[in-house]
Structures are given as C-alpha cells and as structure tokens.
Symmetry: C2
Subunit: 204 residues, 2 copies
DNA sequence: CGTATGCTCAAACGATCGTTTGATTCTGCC
DNA sequence: GGCAGAATCAAACGATCGTTTGAGCATACG
C-alpha cells in the first residue's frame, strides 16, 4: 500500500513546511504537490480539499503536543512539592520541544500564523483542541497562586501564552547563534521563558 | 481635488479593515475597492500595486506609533526619578492606544498578522521602522536594570514584546466584557501588561 | 472657449488558483 | 493468471486574482 513513506504522510510533511514559509493562502497545491513529489490531484483524493488538509496538518502536531503537555502536567499536578516553575515547564517545554520531531520547528511558524490568521473556523478548531488542556493548567496555576483571583490569573496566563507564542515562532530579536545547537537554543529559550513567566505570574 | 475624504484615504482605511479581517492575500482588490466605494483600478493608479498599498497601510500607522512612543520615552529617559514602569508605559501604552484612532484596533490585527506572515520584505520594512525605536528603549531599560547583562536583557525585552503583541492582537482568552468600554479594557490591559512585564524584566 | 491635466470608470488581459474528470497503473486476493 | 478496488496520472474546468487599457469626465489655467 505504501512506498517508503506514504503519499499522505509526504503531503502532510511538505504542507507543513510550505505553509510555514508561504502561509495557507500563499502556498498553492501545485507547489505543495511538487515538493512532496506527488500528483496534483493527490491532495483532493486523500484529504478531500485543501482546507481539510490544513486541519490535518494541525491535528497531527496538536494531538502530540496536547498529549505531551498533559503527561508532563500529570507528573506534578496536585503534588505537595510542586513549584510554579514545574507547571510552567510542563506548559512551555513540550511546545518548544515540538521542534525536535522532524520538521517540527516549521510547525511553530504555522501555529503562530494560524493565531494571526484569525480565521474563525480554524480558531474554533484550535479552541476545541486546546480547551481542556488550558482548563487543567489553569486549575493547577490557581492552586499554586492562591492569592490571585480568577480574573487576575486569566490575564497573566494570557500574557504568558503571548510570550510563549512569540518565542515559539522565533520572530523576535533573539536569533540562534551559530555556535549553539538548536537544542541548546531551545533549552535557553525554555529557561528564560520559565523564569520570566514565573516572575510575571507570581508577583504580588 | 478631494471629495469629503480623498480616494487615497478611503482606500487606506478600507484596506486596513479588510486586511485585518481576511489577511493580505485573502483580501482581494475587488472586495477592497467595493468597500471603499472606489473603482477597481484606483488602487493601482494611486499606489502602483497591491504590495505598495500594504506598505502604505503599515507606514501610516507605524509612523504615528513610533513618534508617539519616542515622545513618551523622551519624557522619562535619563531622568533620575524614572521607574521601570514608566519606560514600559512609554513602550506599551502607545501600542494599545493605537486602537483609539479611527479603526486603529483593526490595525493591531494587521500588525500581528504581519509578524506571523514572516514575509522577508515586510519583516525588513518593519525592522527599518522599528530599529531605532527599539535601540532607544533598550538603552533606557539597560540603565534601569544594570544588574542584567546585554544578552539577558535582550531575551527579556523579547518576551515582553511577545506578550504585548499577543495582547494587542486580542487573540487570547481575555475578551472585553460588555460592561466595560473599550478604553477601560485597554487601560486594564496596559496596567496588567506593565506590572507583568516589570516583574518579568526585573526579577533577579 | 479651448485645452491640458488629474482622476474615474467599465472592460478586458493573462496568470494562477482549487477542484474535477476519465483513463491508466498498481496492488492484493481468489 | 485474472479481476476488483485503490491509487496515480495528465489534462482540463470554471472561478478569481492583480493588473492594464483606453475612453470618458472633471477641474483649472491661458
């Protein structure tokens, strides 16, 4: 049924890369299928439409991300010794580590782009996949920050998410230097982000 | 030469709104000119091309934003009594207040979208318009945070910018309630952001 | 008044888009 | 081997895109 990698998988990988570079509208199916080495009609045959393909590109990565995040959260949630930094690490590290799986760093740009596209159907799709994850994290944050009321906590988590999204997309001034590996850079980013977020979350 | 508002101005205003809703690629010149009440050919006549129009949409707002930011910074930079929150206010408030000028809130989405689009020419354009502003703010931050080395400071400013961009675009969980005006909501956002950023910037 | 200039307009151009079609090739099973 | 269904292919479809064209209208100046 498959060659070394299936047509479907090759399309998803090429789509992720091309969407990251050119955007969802900017990347045409002709560029996409050419990069994947498949026929133009393959996308509509396997996915039904370009829009469905976009959803699948997201689903493939977001399912893994959410699973990873919740697994890390489960290790520390509710435990007596848990620190704020531990929960932040469970929230932040899986997102940044997504770039370690093949071509995952491109997905970060896709994700950041999706946030900006502000497309309602896509936004709803993300909300459905993110909703229960955010709920669990918020509950644990609330446990560790009992002096904050709910509204105040929501504000601060939102700002943390903003900083994380920004850092994930790699748009900022901070660029990886040639003498550090991508993994080292990611760990630096995570460490900075966790300390920054912890200070921003817990200040009186 | 002009009607009540000139064709050029009507195009710019309609473009800003439509770009925010549909994106740069998603908004067609036919939708745009129809919304502006002008002829289809007017865009190419007055701006030369769609791409030039995009640049002008940015330039109109970014010039005002940079001017406003630098004016606020000049009030506090180098002064002995200046607090970190004062510099952050000069950095953050003009960005959020951009939404008070007509239809300015739509521009925030356009800006956030431009960050995500990652288009190199647009990125370079933003860098050229932002570069000297960031330099001046960074210098003042460095003065008030002498215990941070340059690399550490860059990291933290980058994260602040991420949180600001996120808050500006209004993508987060935090939505304006019906019982608060837009101005009140913007001031709440600014206050939260400044305190959050101050804690994240100045932590040991 | 005549004319030059700036602007607007309907119409068309070529290009590219996502999608569909129908024939062809590949694959697994009896 | 032969057949059924899945998969791939080249080709074309209609729609929409940004841009260009050339005629028509307005305004200002001699």
């Amino acid at each position: 049924m498959n060659s070394s990698t299936s047509t479907k998988e090759r399309i998803l990988t090429a789509a992720e890369a091309l969407f990251a570079q050119r955007g969802f509208d900017g990347a045409s199916l002709r560029q996409l299928t050419a990069a994947a080495g498949v026929n133009l009609a393959a996308v509509n045959y396997h996915f039904g439409s370009k829009e469905k393909l976009v959803e699948q590109v997201f689903k493939r990565r977001l399912d893994a991300l959410n699973q990873h995040r919740l697994a890390e959260l489960a290790k520390v949630a509710g435990k007596p010794g848990t620190k704020l930094e531990d929960v932040l690490a469970a929230y932040i590290r899986p997102a940044l580590e997504l770039s370690h799986e093949g071509n995952g760093s491109l997905f970060m740009r896709v994700l950041a782009r999706a946030f900006a596209e502000h497309d309602d159907t896509l936004r709803q799709f993300l909300s459905e996949n993110y909703g229960h994850v955010m709920k669990q994290f918020t509950a644990e944050f609330a446990r560790l920050l009992p002096h904050l009321d709910k509204a105040e906590l929501y504000w601060r988590i939102d700002l943390v998410t903003g900083a994380l999204t920004h850092a994930m997309s790699g748009f900022g001034m901070i660029q990886r230097k040639d003498n550090v590996t991508e993994q080292q850079h990611r760990e630096q980013t995570a460490a900075h982000l966790i300390r920054f977020a912890a200070a921003g979350l817990s200040h009186p």
